[in-house]
C-alpha cells in the first residue's frame, strides 16, 4: 500500500487578499487534492479560491542558516521610515 501524497493547502479568504497556508491533505492527484481541500478547509466560508501544492515541491530555507539569512537585515534600520527625522510641522509624509 502506497501512501497518497501530501499536499499543502492555501486559501484566499476573499479577493484582494493573498492565498494563505492553512493546512494539508492527502490525495492521490491534483483534482482530488483540490476537492479534499475544499471539503476540509472551506466548510465555514473560509475562502473563495484554493491552491494545492505537492508538499515535496516546496523548498525551505535551512533553519541552521537562519542567522546568516535573516539577521543581517535586522541592523539596516535606515530601510524603515521611522529612521528619518522630519519635523512634525512638515505634516504627514
Amino acid at each position: 500500500m502506497t501512501d497518497a501524497p501530501l499536499w499543502e493547502v492555501f486559501i484566499r479568504p476573499r479577493n484582494g487578499l493573498s492565498h494563505v497556508h492553512c493546512g494539508s491533505v492527502h490525495a492521490a492527484d491534483e483534482v482530488m487534492a483540490i476537492q479534499a481541500a475544499r471539503d476540509v478547509y472551506t466548510r465555514r466560508g473560509e475562502g473563495n479560491s484554493i491552491w494545492v501544492v505537492p508538499s515535496d515541491a516546496i523548498t525551505a530555507s535551512d533553519p541552521a542558516l537562519k542567522e546568516q539569512n535573516f539577521e543581517p537585515a535586522m541592523s539596516k534600520i535606515y530601510r524603515h521610515p521611522s529612521f528619518y527625522e522630519i519635523p512634525e510641522d512638515v505634516g504627514h509624509m
Binding site: 500500500m1 502506497t2 501512501d3 497518497a4 493546512g23 492527502h26 492521490a28 492527484d29 476540509v40 525551505a60
Partner: protein, 330 residues
Amino acid sequence: MYAQGLIGADAATTEDAAFLERFQARIDAEEKIEPNDPMPAGYRKTLIRQIGQHAHSEIVGMLPEGNWITRAPSLRRKAALLAKVQDEGGHGLYLYAAAETLGVTRDQMTEELLSGKAKYSSIFNYPTPTWADIGAIGWLVDGAAIMNQIPLCRCSYGPYARAMIRVCKEESFHQRQGYEIMMTLARGAPAQKDMAQDALNRWWWPSLVMFGPPDSDSVHGDQSMAWKIKRFTNDELRRKFINATVPQAEFIDLTVPDPDLRWNDDTQSYEHGPIDWDEFWRVVKGHGQMNRDRIAARRKAWEDGAWVRDAAVAHGEKRRTRHTAALAAE
C-alpha cells in the same frame, strides 16, 4: 475533542546539556518551535505521541456520536450532529498533519492505532445507548476537551498550536449544541428528563477522568510543562471544569452524581468525591465496554477502504504517466 492524560510518554533525551539549555531558553522566551528547527529527540517523541493520541481520539470519537446520526430525533438535530461528527474527522485530519511535520506518516500512526500500540482518550470506550448521551457528550466531553485545548493553542510547537487554534474555533459550537440538547430534555417530558439525568450519571465521572491521573501520580507532566507542550496540570484543569460545569447542571435542574461534591469558600472552588482510578486504568488498558468494538470499527473501515485508496493512487500514477507522455508528444 480530546483531553490530556498522556499515557506512557517517554521524554528521555541524549543531547548534551548545552543543547538542552539553549532549547529550553527558546521555550522560556515563548518562542515557537517550527518543524525544521533543532529539537531534543524527547521533545519530538513526546509531541508525536501526544498529537497522535489527540488525533486518534478525534477519529475514534466519531464512532460513539456517529452511532446516533441516523436516529437523531429531528432534522435540525441530525444536521447539527452530522456537522459535529464531521468536524471531529476534520480535527483528526489537522492533527495528523501537524504530527506529520515531525517525520511520522499518517499511515504509520493509523497502523499504531489499529494495532493497539497507540492510545486514544478512554472516554470513547463508553457506549452511547440513548439520545441523551449525545447531549451529555457535547456538554461534558467537549466541555472537558475545550478546557484542555484552549491552553494548547499556546503550545510551544507551532504546527500543533496552529491546528489547535483552528480546532478551538470550530469546536465552539459543539459544547453549546450538547448543552442545548440536555436543556431541551431536562425541560421536556418526564421520560426525557430521566434520560438526561441517566446520561449525566454515566458521563460525569468518565469526564473528570479525561483530565488524566492526579498531579501526585503524574509521571510525565513535569517535562511536558517545562517544554510548554502542556500548560496546566491535570488537577488544575479538572478543577476549572468542575467549577464551570456544576452551575450549568444546576441551571437545568440536573443532579451531579457526586454526594461528596461541595463548595469550598476558601479556595473558591468545588471539591469532588474520590475518583475510581482503578476503573480508569482498566479502561485505558483495553477493558472498557467498547474498546474492542471501537478498534474493530476503525480496522474494518481501514481494511474495507484499502482497495479505494489503492485505486486512487494507481489512477494518480496513470494520470501522471499520460500527462508526461502528452507533454513529450508536443
